[in-house]
């Protein structure tokens, strides 16, 4: 079996369908479930994330100047915007990995899509928590059904439903295929969220960084936002790495059981 074949997700399932006696080692290799190699990646990512988060906290809460109109509450910006951007990045990764899965049928892409979706939902939940806490003192309300907030809420619901779908389809090949389709369709809302403040009147501020006239922020605020983007990117990479490692180990354990539970293999004498 070649390396490419070894990572094909449907290999153990099709073997079970014909009722073949498959050695556990072969099944695990075919599932692409070799235990994650011990490497320095996780500790290095964890250290870099902790350091950058500490710098972000100092910069956001102590170094950056207070906004003249909004006061201290504007400092929510430094965790709200990076979480939104990196959450969107996570959903973009889901989109790319879902296409790659449908093309290659490799379990690696499915694990990447699932992991990135879960982390993306955590980040966008962070946006949904910090946004209303910023809106209440500035707009006078926690929530308004304006185009940006509504399209973002729909985006969050779509990826929560992606995770729910994954938990309700027990058969791995079908689960991967269904979620890949949803991972592609759900992504259609990402550009809609982006253009929502440009195309429609919205309470939500327009772009202050990706502005046609250049960034509309003082240098210190822009610098702290840059640290925030770096810190949230590192956190995203750390969480996705940990989630993928867990998924590999879960698949490694699930593969032999799945074979044993298949009707065709149970019916063998």
């Amino acid at each position: 079996m070649s390396t490419t074949d070894a990572s094909r997700q449907d290999a153990p399932v099709s073997a079970a369908r014909v009722g073949a006696t498959v050695p556990v080692e072969t099944v695990m290799t075919a599932w692409g479930a070799a235990p994650p190699r011990r490497s320095l990646l996780v500790p290095v990512l964890a250290a870099a994330t902790a350091l950058s988060m500490a710098v972000l906290l100092l910069g956001a809460l102590l170094w950056a100047p207070a906004d003249r109109l909004q006061g201290d509450v504007q400092r929510i910006f430094y965790i709200h915007v990076p979480a939104a951007w990196i959450g969107m990045l996570g959903f973009t990764v889901v989109f790319v990995a879902s296409i790659a899965y449908l093309v290659t049928r490799s379990a690696r892409w499915d694990r990447l899509a699932a992991s990135s979706a879960e982390v993306g939902v955590v980040f966008t939940t962070g946006v949904m928590v910090t946004g209303p806490l910023w809106a209440r003192p500035i707009w006078g309300v926690y929530w308004d059904w304006d185009p940006r907030l509504t399209s973002f809420f729909v985006l969050w619901l779509l990826y929560v439903s992606y995770l729910v779908l994954r938990s309700y389809v027990p058969e791995p090949t079908r689960r991967a295929r269904y979620s890949a389709v949803l991972g592609i369709v759900a992504f259609l809302d990402v550009p809609l969220v982006y253009v929502s403040v440009r195309w429609w009147r919205s309470l939500h501020p327009g772009p202050v960084v990706a502005n046609p006239d250049g960034p509309q922020l003082p240098g210190e605020m822009l610098a702290v936002l840059g640290v925030g983007i770096a810190a949230f990117t590192l956190l995203y990479l750390l969480l996705v790495r940990l989630r993928i490692d867990n998924a590999v180990r879960e698949d490694e354990r699930a593969a032999p059981v799945r074979i044993a539970d298949t009707p065709s293999s149970r019916s063998r004498p």
């Binding site: 809460l61 006061g71 929510i76 965790i79 979480a83 969480l239 867990n246 180990r249 879960e250």
Partner: protein, 36 residues
Amino acid sequence: MTSPYLLAAYLGSAALYGGYLAHLLRRRRALAHGSR
């Protein structure tokens, strides 16, 4: 830090991201020890 909203946003975010990280690490440890 004078705003309770600012405090709630930072503490809430820390609880969310820290809680999820702790969940992944607990799961990692459980899987390493052989539980499902």
